[in-house]
C-alpha cells in the first residue's frame, strides 16, 4: 500500500527531527541539530533493511517516491515566500559568495581530476544509451536540487 511508504517516510522524518532536537538540547543549542540529515540516513538504512527482506513492494516505494519528486516544486513554493525585498539589499554578498565558491571549486576539480590514476572510461555512444541517459537527466532534474 502506498501509505506504508509515506508512513515510513513520516516515521523517519519525525524520528530524525526528534533526534536533532535531543542532540541540540544535549549540546546546549536552542535549535534542531542535523535532524533532516539524521532522517535521511535513517530512511537509507531502513530502505536497505526492508529491501533485503523483500518488504518493499513497488507501491510502498511509490509512497516515498512521490514526495521525492515533489521536492523541486516545494522548493519553488519556498522561494515564493522568501523576503526577497530585504535580500536584494544585500546583493553583492550573494553574488560574490556564489562566484567565489564556484571559482575555488572549479580550481579544486581541475587539480583533483588531474592527480592520481584515472582508470575509468565511458562506454561508446549508442543511440539506445543516449535515450536512457536523457531519461536520467530528466529524473535527476525533477527530483533533486
Amino acid at each position: 500500500m502506498v501509505i506504508y511508504g509515506t508512513a515510513l517516510l513520516a516515521f523517519c522524518h519525525l524520528a530524525g527531527l526528534l533526534l536533532g532536537d535531543l542532540l541540540g538540547s544535549v549540546i546546549g543549542v536552542k535549535a534542531n541539530v542535523g535532524g533532516v540529515g539524521f532522517a535521511m540516513l535513517m530512511l537509507i538504512s531502513l530502505r536497505i533493511y526492508l529491501h533485503k527482506r523483500g518488504l518493499l513492494p513497488k507501491e510502498t516505494e511509490a509512497g516515498v517516491g512521490f514526495w521525492g519528486a515533489i521536492y523541486i516544486p516545494v522548493v519553488v513554493a519556498m522561494a515564493a515566500q522568501q523576503n526577497v525585498l530585504v535580500a536584494l539589499k544585500g546583493g553583492p554578498v550573494a553574488l560574490l559568495s556564489a562566484i567565489g565558491a564556484a571559482l575555488l571549486c572549479a580550481g579544486a576539480i581541475a587539480a583533483i581530476s588531474r592527480t592520481g590514476r584515472d582508470t575509468t572510461a565511458l562506454p561508446p555512444v549508442h543511440h539506445h544509451e543516449f535515450v536512457e541517459e536523457e531519461d536520467i537527466v530528466f529524473i535527476a532534474g525533477v527530483s533533486h536540487a
Binding site: N32, P73, G90, A108, D118, A145
Partner: protein, 254 residues
Amino acid sequence: MLEMFNEVLAHNGLVTAFALVGAIMWLSAVLSRRLTFGRVHGSAIAIIIGLVLAYVGGTITGGEKGLADLSLFAGIGLMGGAMLRDFAIVATAFEVQVTEARKAGLIGAVSLFLGTLIPFIVGASIAWAFGYSDPVSMTTIGAGAITYIVGPVTGAAIGASSDVVALSIATGLIKAIIVMVATPFAAKFLGLKTPRSAMIFGGLAGTVSGVSAGLAATDRRLVPYGTLVAAFHTGLGCLLGPSLLFFATRALVA
C-alpha cells in the same frame, strides 16, 4: 463570478498552491527549452520565478512572507513551509543507491567534503566582510553557498532571520546557475571527460540541478556519475551545516 472564483481559490489554499506551482514549473520547462535550449535547467528558472513572485508579493503587501502574504496564495506558505519542505527533502534520500555510491569511491567522498567546506568558507567569509558578522548569519549564508537547500535548512535550524535565509537561497541559486551555464565552457579546464572526473565534479560543484544540467550540456554520458555523488550533497550539508560548521563558526567568531 470573479468573486466566487477568488473565494474557491482562497478556501482551498494548498490546492491552489499546487496548481500555481505546477503552472510555474510548466512555464519554466517551456522557457528552458525555447529560450535557453535546455542549458538553464527548468527548475532553476522556476525558482527564479518563485523569487520574483516573492518580490511582487512583498512589494504589494509589505509583509515578510512574499507571495504567501496575499490571502489568495496563502497555501504557498503551507506548501513551501518547513514541514513539507523537510518531508520532501528526506524523501530524496530514498533514491540514493548505496552500491553505486560505493563505486564512486574515496575520491568522490573527498570531493564531497571539499565541496561542502570550500563554498561554506567562501560564503561565510564574504558574509562576514559585508557585515553579517554574527555566527548564525555567517553559517546560513555559508551554507547557502553549498546548495540553496542547505542554506534555508541550516538557517531554520539555527534561527536565522528571513532576509538572511533569502540571501542564502540567492547565493545557492546563483552558484547553481553558474555551474549550469559555465560547465560546458570550462569542461576542458576541469578535465571533465571520464566517470571519475564526473564524480569529482559532482562532489565539488554541488547542487544536483547544476551538476546534471552542466554535465548534460557537456557530455550526456557523464550525467549519472556526477549526479550520483551530488545526490549526497544536500544530505551532508544539512547534517554538517547546523552542527559542525555552525559550532566551528561560532567558536571562531564569538
